[in-house]
């Protein structure tokens, strides 16, 4: 479903894209009545709700997905929504979680937030390596 939506976004057909997203949300809702706990359906619905600009409901859908299976891309997508809503602090918290897992997720946002997140990730890795070295040295002693 999302593949279709993305394709139409590339071709520039905004009305078609919106119509498809609307159709997808309806399909997701219908499927969720049968499989209410399917986290992939929740992800799909969140993505389409975001396209439609329904950020509140999109975030709720992502949170339901996270309650079932924790994945970095969900945090990254939620961070993007928070940025679109004008809440950079909430976005930073979410993006930090995704980037701690894989620093490439920081690339979903522009500078300066991107650089700040990358610096935080590198600082954590450096701290852990330092502590690890110290522990190993202590162990040898």
């Amino acid at each position: 479903m999302n593949r279709e939506v993305r394709r139409s976004s590339r071709s520039g057909g905004e009305p078609i894209r919106m119509e498809q997203a609307q159709r997808n949300v309806l399909s997701c809702r219908r499927c969720l009545t049968t499989y209410p706990e399917d986290f992939q359906l929740q992800l799909l619905m969140g993505e389409n709700l975001r396209i439609l600009g329904n950020f509140e409901e999109a975030l709720r859908s992502y949170e339901r997905a996270l309650a079932t299976a924790e994945r970095p891309e969900v945090y990254a997508q939620m961070a993007e929504i928070e940025l679109e809503r004008g809440r950079p602090d909430a976005a930073r918290t979410l993006l930090r979680k995704a980037a701690m897992f894989d620093v490439r997720y920081a690339a979903v946002v522009d500078q300066p937030l991107r650089g700040e997140i990358e610096a935080e990730v590198l600082a954590r890795e450096e701290r852990l390596r330092r502590e690890g070295r110290a522990q190993r040295a202590e162990g040898r002693r």
């Binding site: 706990e37 986290f39 299976a69 924790e70 897992f101 894989d102 620093v103 890795e125 852990l128 502590e131």
Partner: protein, 432 residues
């Protein structure tokens, strides 16, 4: 002991044949099932075929047992192996109830019950069948090995291939990807070698064994090659005759030659040797050390019941960050999401706790013991079971160190089917 099949009434014989047809359809159909162009081309169709046919098997068996005392007597499960299969299904249900992510675990008891039923069905129905019962596993394995060979050499692709896909990843057979393909072919390859040694007059078995070994090499995957090597070593221990030692040596040489001659496979081993010389554990293990450490973390937190079947992927993100705190030397800037540990020993331990792991280990030990506890007999089926059981258990254990055969339908169908043949051919009902 039940009477030989010829002594059963005609309706009972027809009914047992029907059940056997379902078993055969499962053993052949599941590894071949795929739906080109669908969202999940390989795994879901295999799951659907296996679950559907197994549920039909359970329904038909239950109906037969209810309607006929004779069938009820025949279908009575017996033996410690059957007990382990039932205990595994029961423990999966228990750990699903205690799962940290019940939604992710929900479907797992059904799969465990279906595998237990499939195993019991083979134990009951194959007791008096011979080499033909073994060939059933070789048919889909040989088809997959042949397709893998053609794909890996670029001679023929059964479907259009995206040119952006790396050369190695185009070798899927009908299984899904090169690692899963290699994982699937390993146990049937060991079975084919054992069968060729036992049924020496059946020369075509040599061709099947060679084809399956070439299929393993075509997958260009390191663990399956090492697992076959371990199995061949075990076979020389289990058999002990001069002919067998020569056969195992020839098979090992054939595998090494195939792996060395195949350009992709050769490249893969060269990369492995270069990583080993660098001494960097994440690179040597294709970055599987952190998932393994995360699985151990999960086990430490819930040693008795584990996090629940299927819950590893759902909790991996948090647990991996914890594992990084303990092993900072393994941190790499970019990391992938692991849906499986790529080590079934640790995954079983993390998801089902100590009892689950003991059941897994118990099943392997019980299978391996056939090679040592069953006395030698002129019956070729007994000789096959004695020669194959220990190597198969060891091969599977090695395979499960760096792959996840227990999470995949095709390798499990083949492994469970072959294990059931070993138990039933050395059991009390195995008259000809």
């Amino acid at each position: 002991m039940p009477a030989p099949q010829a002594e059963y009434s005609k309706p009972t014989r027809i009914f047992l044949t029907l059940l056997w047809c379902l078993v055969v359809a499962t053993a052949i159909g599941a590894p071949l099932a795929m739906v080109p162009g669908s969202f999940d081309v390989f795994r879901t169709p295999k799951d659907v075929v296996f679950l559907t046919l197994s549920l039909l098997l359970i329904a038909a068996g239950a109906a037969g047992a209810l309607l006929s005392d004779e069938i009820g007597r025949i279908l009575q499960p017996r033996g410690p192996a059957v007990l382990i299969a039932l205990a595994a299904a029961a423990w999966t249900a228990v750990t699903t109830m205690t799962s940290v992510r019940p939604v992710m675990s929900m479907g797992k008891p059904l799969t465990a019950v279906c595998f237990a039923a499939f195993f019991i069905a083979v134990v009951i129905l194959a007791a008096r069948r011979g080499l033909a019962a073994l060939v059933i596993v070789f048919i889909p394995a040989a088809i997959n090995a042949l397709i893998a060979l053609l794909q890996s050499t670029g001679i023929w692709y059964p479907w259009a291939v995206d040119p952006r896909i790396p050369e190695r990843m185009r070798t899927t057979g009908l299984i899904g990807n090169p690692n899963e393909l290699g994982t699937y072919l390993v146990v049937p390859a060991i079975a084919a070698i054992a069968a060729a040694v036992v049924w020496r007059q059946q020369k075509w078995l040599y061709a099947v064994a060679a084809l399956l070994l070439v299929g393993v090499a075509s997958s260009q995957s390191v663990t399956p090659v090492l697992a076959v090597a371990a199995g061949l070593c075990a076979m020389t221990i289990a058999g002990g005759t001069k002919f067998l030692r020569v056969a195992a040596l020839v098979a090992a040489l054939a595998l090494v030659l195939a792996a060395a001659a195949h350009p992709g496979s050769r490249m893969r081993f060269a990369r492995l040797f270069s990583n080993v010389s660098s001494g960097s554990l994440p690179e040597i293990t294709s970055f599987r050390v952190l998932p393994a450490a995360a699985a151990l973390e999960m086990f430490r937190e819930r040693p008795l019941v584990g996090v629940g079947p299927g819950s590893f992927s759902a909790t991996y993100m948090t647990e991996r960050l914890k594992a990084e705190e303990a092993h900072p030397q393994w941190i790499r800037p970019q990391s992938a999401m692991f849906a499986q540990v790529h080590n079934d020993h640790l995954q079983v331990l993390a998801e089902t706790g100590i009892p689950g792991f003991l059941l897994f280990l118990g099943a392997l030990v019980l299978l391996a013991a056939i090679s040592f506890r069953v006395p030698a007999a002129p019956d070729e089926r007994v000789r096959f079971a004695r020669l194959f059981a220990f190597p198969a258990a060891l091969t599977f254990a090695v395979l499960a160190l760096a792959q996840f055969p227990m999470q995949l339908t095709a390798p499990m169908v083949a492994a469970v089917y072959l294990a059931a043949l070993c138990f039933t051919w050395t059991g009390p009902d195995a008259s000809t």
